[in-house]
Symmetry: C2
Subunit: 664 residues, 2 copies
C-alpha cells in the first residue's frame, strides 16, 4: 500500500476499504437489461458514514494547514474546533490534530494541505468500532480539486467506421467493441431519435431484444455509458422504447415503411470511449498470425473488463465476481502488472467483518479470494497489502470452518451456492473440487502467515489442517479403480468430471503418479464430458501446461479462440460452442442476446502464452527475481516483452537463437 | 407495528429499521456550531443498500399492479422481469412476486399499487444476510408521490412580535422559541445581509458567539432551518460571517457606526416554523397559575424536542441520546401518547447487530434502551414491537454480559463512557448505579420474555441473574452504617451520592425499610450534594413521589422550574442553577452560549403532575385498563384531560368534589 507513496504529497484519505466498497456498489448496481436495473444479488456492503482521522505532530515552528472535505464535520486541534476550508495556524510544540467527518450518501474523505501537516497514510482512521487503523488512500487521488466518490475515466473519441441504411434507420459500426457514451446529432429537429446498441450487428438491429437502448439527451445528444460495437439509430417508437417484457418476442423484427426513415447523411454519431488508464506493459509478436491475433483480441477484451475493478463482462453482468477476478489476476500479471486494480478488486470483494455470507454467495468464490491474495503476493511481493487483509483472511477461514461436516470437508449451507462451473457435477454431500480449493486455502494461510511472521501456533494449526484435509481428500475421493478423483463419495455414483482432477494437478493434491493417471483417465479421455466454459478451460489449459502438454494447449487455443475469431469476434466471449449454429451463437441463459461477447475470463491465452511458452515465472516476488524457461519451439520466430514486477523482460527468438534481457 | 395498518392501503415499505437508521443519521449529522458541523461522535449505523421484497399471492383472476421506487432494480413475477413504473399483468393462480432494489445514497424503498397486489407489512424483506423478516413501514408514508427519505414537516408562519434597532442592525423577537427557516427580504438591494440567531436576546446580538448565523439565499431570502427565538439582522461583515475560531472572544461586541445601519422598516422577516405534527392529547388547568405556566412551557419544550425522534435539544446537540429518550417516553405517555415516535427513536438508537459499542458510547444508555422497551410496552401494550426488538434486546444483554467482573457486576471497558450524571461519583471499579440499571434490565428481560411466551429457560435464566445481582448489590454496596448505598466498594471511600439511592427506590433494589432510610439519610440529607441537572432531578422527583413526598415535589417544581420562568424562559433549559448570575446563565461546557435553552429532559413536570398528582397509571397496557389515585389536595381546583392508550381520561376537581370519566 505505502510502497508508491510520494513524499510531501497530500492524498485524499478515507477509512481503508471505504473507497473500494463504495465504488464496488456503484459498479454492482450498474447492470441494466432492457430498461430495468439489476443490482447484484448478494450482500452489498456499506462504507462507513462517520469517521475520525488523527495524527500527532511535533512542530519545531508555527505552521498552517487547510482541511477540505465534502462531508459534514470539523477539525479539532488540541481542544479547539475549526471549520473545513479555512487556514488553521498551530504550533510550535506537540499538536494533536483530528478531523471529524460524517457523510450519508458516500464515504467521508478528507484532504489536508500544508507544508508540514498534510494527509497521507501516516494518518490513522477510526470508525467508532474498531481500533485505529492506517488511513486508506489511492495514488489516483492527490489533488484538492478531486472527488474520491467520482472515478475519473480517460476518454477517447471513436467515429463509426460504417454507416448503413437498414429498414427505417441507420446501423453504425465501430472498429471494435467499446464502453462508450454515444453522442448523436440529428440534422432534423422534427423527430425524436432512439439508439439501440449491440455487441453484435444482430443485437443492435433487434429493437426488442437488445440490452441497451437510449433516447439521446435533448440538449447534449448524449446517451448513458454502455457496451457498444454497433448502434442502430431510428425514430423513436413507443412500442420499442417502452418495451413491456410481457411482450417479449412479439417485436423481434423491424417494420419498415411505417415510420419515416432515418437516413445516414442526417445523423452524426460519435462514441466517447471511457476507460481506466492502466498501461499495457506486454508486447507479443510471433510468426503465427492467428496466435498474434488471439493475443491482441485477448488484450483488448481484458482491458475493457479492467476498469475500477476486474469485472466479468462489459455488457453483462458488469459485476465483480470472486472466481472471475482470480483468473484476471493471472492475466494482469503478464499484461499490465498493475497491483492496484488487484487491491481494489480484492478489498471490494471481501467487504466488512463479520462475514455473514459467501463472496457473491458462492462458496468457491470465498475460497478463491484467499487464493487471490497468494496470487497477488506472488506477483508483486506486496506484503503491506497481505498484512492489511490477513485478519480478514483469518475471519473468512473461520467462517468456512463453521460449515465442515464430520470428516472436516466443507459443505454448502442453505443459501450457499456451490458452483465450481456450469457443468454436470455430482453435488450430493461434500463436493471434491471444493475440498481441493479449501486445502489450497490452508496452504495459503500457512505460507502467507509465515511471510508475515504470524505466530507459529496459528500457522502450525493451518499446516496441520492442510495435511489432514489433503490426506482425507485422497482417502475419500481418489478412486483407484477409475484412476481419478470422483465428485462425491456420498452419492455412491463415483461420478468423474474434469474439475476436481484439474485442481488436483494445479494444487498438488495428487502425487506425481496420480497426476499421470489423471491426464490419461480424465483429461485425455473423450468419454469424460468436455469443459464448456472458457472459465474452467483456463484451469484445464493451466493443468495441461503444467503437465507439459504445450503443443496440445497451443492447438486448443488456435481451435477454440481461433474459432471465435472465425465467427467475427473482436473481443472474446463468455462461452463458445463450435457446434452451435451461427444464428444462435449469441444465445445464453435462454436469452437471444444473453451471451456476453466481451468477457474477462476468455483472455487467458495471454497468461498461458506468457507463463508457459515464453516461460516467465517470478520466483521471488519481494526481490523481483524470476526464471525464464521458454518453450518457443512451436514458433518460427517470436518477439515479446513482459513485465516482471517493476522490470520489463524482453525475449527474442528467431527460430535458432534465443536472446533475452531486462529493459528499464 | 401492524396495529394501525389500514386495509387496502398501499404503504411504502423498506427493510425494517432502515427508515429510522437513515433519518437518525441525518438527525445526528445536523448539529452545527458557528459554521462547522459536528456529526455525533458514535458509531453511525448504516441502512442496507440492497434489499429484496417478496410476497406470494393466490389469485382468483387476472390482476394488474405497478411498482414504484427511486432505487435501481426490477420486479420479478415468477421468472419474468419488469421495470419499475409500468403496469404488470398476472394471474390467475399462484404468483410469486419479488422486487429487487439497490440504492447507495439512501435506503431502498418500494411502493406497490394495485387492487389485489399492493405493499404493506404482509410483504417480507431480505437483506442477503438474515432470514426474511416483515417489511418495515410507517403510517406517514402511504402515497405514491411521497419519498420516504424526506421527512415531511408541517409548517406554520410566525411573524416577529418585536423589532428593535440595536447598534448597526435590527433585533427581531418571536413570541417563543421555534425551529424555523427564516425568510428575510430587504427593501434595499445594494448590500448583503447576515442573520444571527439566538435562543436568547444576548446570543443573537453576539455575532461572534452565537451558534447559528446565515447569509440568506439570494433568490429566496431563506436561511437554513435552526433553533431561533431572536434574529439579529445586519449588513454582512467578513469578520463575523467568516469567523475563525482562533479569534474567539475578539469580536464579542458590536461596532456601530463603522458600517451602514440596517433599519427596521427596511427589512421583512418571517419564521417558517417546521415541526412534526404529533397532536397533544392532554390539557391541564389548575388554580395554581405558576404550575399552569410550568405545564404549558414544558409542553412547548417537549413538542419542540419531539421531531422525527426524541432529541435532547433543538439548538444543541440535536442528537438522539438513549438516556434522554428514556425520560421522554414518560412525558410522551401523558402528553401525546404517541407510540410511533417511541418506535422510531428506539429503532434508531439500537442500530444493527452485531453490537460493537454502547449506545451513544455510554454504558448506562445501552441499559436505558432495555428499560425503554418496558416503558413503551407498559404505556401502549405494543407487543408487536416488543416481538420485533426482543432479539436485539437479547444481543444487547449478551454484549453487556461480556463485561462483567468477578462478582457479576458490569464495568466499563476501554472507550466506554460510564456516565450516570454530571456529578462527582466515585467511579473506581464497578459503579453502584450501573448495577441497579443492569438488574432492572434483567427484570425487564424476564417480564417481556414472559409476555412474548419466550422459552422458560431463557426467562428463568434472566430471573436467576436478576435475583443474584440484586442480592450482590445489597451485599457489596449497601452500607448499613451510612444507611445508604455507596458508589463503589472497591475504592474504600464509601462515597454516598443520591444517584444509586434514587435508583434503589425506583427499581426496588431496596426493601421498604431501606427505602425509608434512604429518604432520611440521602434524599433529605443536605450534606449529600444536590442533583444539579434536570435530567437526574427527574429520577429524584420520581423517587420522592413514589415515597409519598408530593408536597415537597410540588414545592421543588415551583422553585426550580418556576425559577427558570422568572428568568424569562419560554422553554425549559438543559441546566439551571439559581445561584448563577444572570450574565452567566447561558454559559455551559465553558461556552458563553453553550447551554441549550430548550431541552427535552426538563419537561418532566408533565409526567410528575399527571402520574402522581392527577394520579393516572395504566395497569394493563394490553386492555388499556388504568387506575386513578388523585392527590389534588394541593390545588384549589383542577381540570385535566390525559391520554390512557386510546382513551381520554378527564378529571375535574373543584376543591370539594372529584369527578372523572372517559371521553371518546
Amino acid at each position: 500500500m505505502g510502497a508508491f507513496m510520494s513524499r510531501n504529497t497530500s492524498y485524499w484519505i478515507w477509512y481503508p476499504g471505504d473507497f473500494e466498497l463504495y465504488h464496488a456498489m456503484r459498479q454492482n448496481f450498474s447492470r441494466v437489461e432492457r430498461g430495468y436495473g439489476w443490482p447484484a444479488f448478494w450482500k452489498s456492503e456499506g462504507f462507513r458514514n462517520r469517521v475520525a482521522f488523527r495524527r500527532e505532530y511535533e512542530l519545531t515552528e508555527e505552521t498552517s494547514f487547510y482541511v477540505y472535505s465534502a462531508a459534514v464535520g470539523h477539525v479539532l486541534v488540541e481542544d479547539r474546533k475549526y471549520p473545513f476550508g479555512r487556514s488553521i495556524l498551530c504550533g510550535p510544540g506537540k499538536v494533536r490534530v483530528s478531523v471529524h467527518a460524517g457523510c450519508i450518501e458516500t464515504f467521508p474523505s478528507i484532504y489536508v494541505e500544508g507544508d508540514v501537516i498534510y494527509s497521507n497514510h501516516t494518518w490513522m482512521a477510526e470508525d467508532y468500532t474498531n481500533p485505529p487503523i492506517m488511513a486508506g488512500f489511492n495514488e489516483r487521488y492527490t489533488e484538492k480539486s478531486q472527488n474520491p466518490s467520482v472515478w475519473e475515466y480517460k476518454e477517447e473519441i471513436y467515429l463509426p467506421v460504417s454507416a448503413e441504411a437498414c429498414a427505417d434507420g441507420v446501423l453504425f459500426g465501430f472498429e471494435t467493441e467499446l464502453t462508450a457514451v454515444l453522442e448523436i446529432h440529428d440534422s432534423r429537429e422534427d423527430r425524436q431519435l432512439r439508439v439501440y446498441c449491440g455487441e453484435s450487428r444482430e443485437e443492435a438491429l433487434d429493437r426488442a431484444h437488445c440490452y441497451y437502448s437510449w433516447t439521446p439527451d435533448a440538449r447534449t445528444g448524449r446517451c448513458q455509458r454502455c457496451a457498444v460495437r454497433y448502434a442502430f439509430v431510428a425514430e423513436e417508437d413507443q412500442a420499442y422504447s417502452d418495451i413491456s417484457p410481457c411482450l417479449h418476442g412479439d417485436f423481434g423484427t423491424n417494420v419498415p415503411g411505417k415510420r419515416k426513415s432515418v437516413l445516414p447523411e442526417e445523423i452524426e454519431v460519435k462514441a466517447i470511449h471511457q476507460y481506466t488508464d492502466i498501461p499495457v506493459r506486454a508486447q507479443f509478436t510471433s510468426s503465427d498470425g492467428l496466435i498474434n491475433r488471439i493475443w491482441s483480441v485477448a488484450e483488448h477484451t481484458f482491458r475493457l473488463c479492467s476498469g475500477i475493478f476486474f469485472i466479468d463482462g462489459i455488457k453483462r453482468d458488469k459485476w465483480i465476481w470472486g472466481g472471475d477476478a482470480y483468473q484476471s489476476l493471472f492475466v494482469n500479471q503478464y499484461l499490465m502488472a498493475d497491483a492496484d486494480i488487484n487491491r481494489r478488486t480484492l478489498l471490494a470483494l471481501r467487504g466488512n467483518d463479520p462475514m455473514t455470507t459467501h463472496i457473491n454467495t458462492i462458496l468457491d468464490y470465498s475460497l478463491y479470494w484467499i487464493l487471490s491474495i497468494k496470487a497477488h503476493y506472488e506477483a508483486y511481493g506486496d506484503l503491506d497489502f497481505v498484512e492489511q487483509v490477513y485478519p480478514k483472511m483469518v475471519t473468512l477461514m473461520d467462517f468456512c470452518e463453521e460449515q465442515l461436516e464430520e470428516h472436516g470437508f466443507i459443505t454448502g449451507r442453505a443459501g450457499d451456492w456451490v458452483f465450481i462451473d456450469w457443468a454436470d457435477l455430482d453435488k450430493e454431500g461434500a463436493l471434491c473440487a471444493e475440498q481441493m480449493l479449501f486445502a489450497e486455502c490452508y496452504r495459503t494461510m500457512t505460507l502467507l502467515g509465515g511471510r508475515l511472521g504470524k505466530d507459529a501456533f496459528l500457522c502450525g494449526s493451518y499446516r496441520q489442517k492442510y495435511e489432514a484435509l489433503k490426506k482425507n481428500i485422497n482417502a475419500f475421493y481418489w478412486n483407484a479403480g477409475r484412476g481419478a478423483y470422483i465428485d462425491s463419495f456420498v452419492s455412491g455414483r463415483e461420478h468423474v468430471t474434469r474439475h476436481a482432477n484439474i485442481f488436483a494437478i494445479l494444487f498438488d493434491i495428487a502425487d506425481e503418479r496420480q497426476k499421470v493417471q489423471i491426464v490419461q483417465n480424465v483429461l485425455h479421455n473423450e468419454e469424460i464430458p468436455q469443459i464448456t466454459t472458457p472459465y474452467f478451460k483456463f484451469y484445464e489449459m493451466d493443468a495441461l501446461c503444467k503437465m507439459g502438454y504445450l503443443e496440445e494447449v497451443l492447438e486448443r487455443i488456435r481451435e477454440y479462440w481461433g474459432g471465435m475469431l472465425a465467427r467475427g469476434a473482436v473481443t472474446f466471449w463468455e462461452e463458445y460452442d463450435p457446434s452451435v449454429q451461427q444464428e444462435e451463437q449469441y444465445d445464453m441463459y435462454g436469452d437471444k442476446f444473453g451471451k456476453s461477447l466481451c468477457h474477462a475470463w476468455s483472455a487467458s491465452p495471454i497468461y498461458l502464452l506468457a507463463r508457459y511458452f515464453v516461460g516467465l515465472k517470478i520466483t521471488d516476488p519481494v526481490s523481483g527475481n524470476y526464471e525464464l524457461c521458454p518453450h518457443l519451439e512451436y514458433f518460427d520466430s517470436l518477439e515479446c516483452v513482459l513485465p516482471a514486477g517493476d522490470k520489463q523482460i524482453w525475449v527474442s527468438w528467431d527460430g535458432k537463437e534465443l536472446k533475452f534481457g531486462e529493459k528499464q
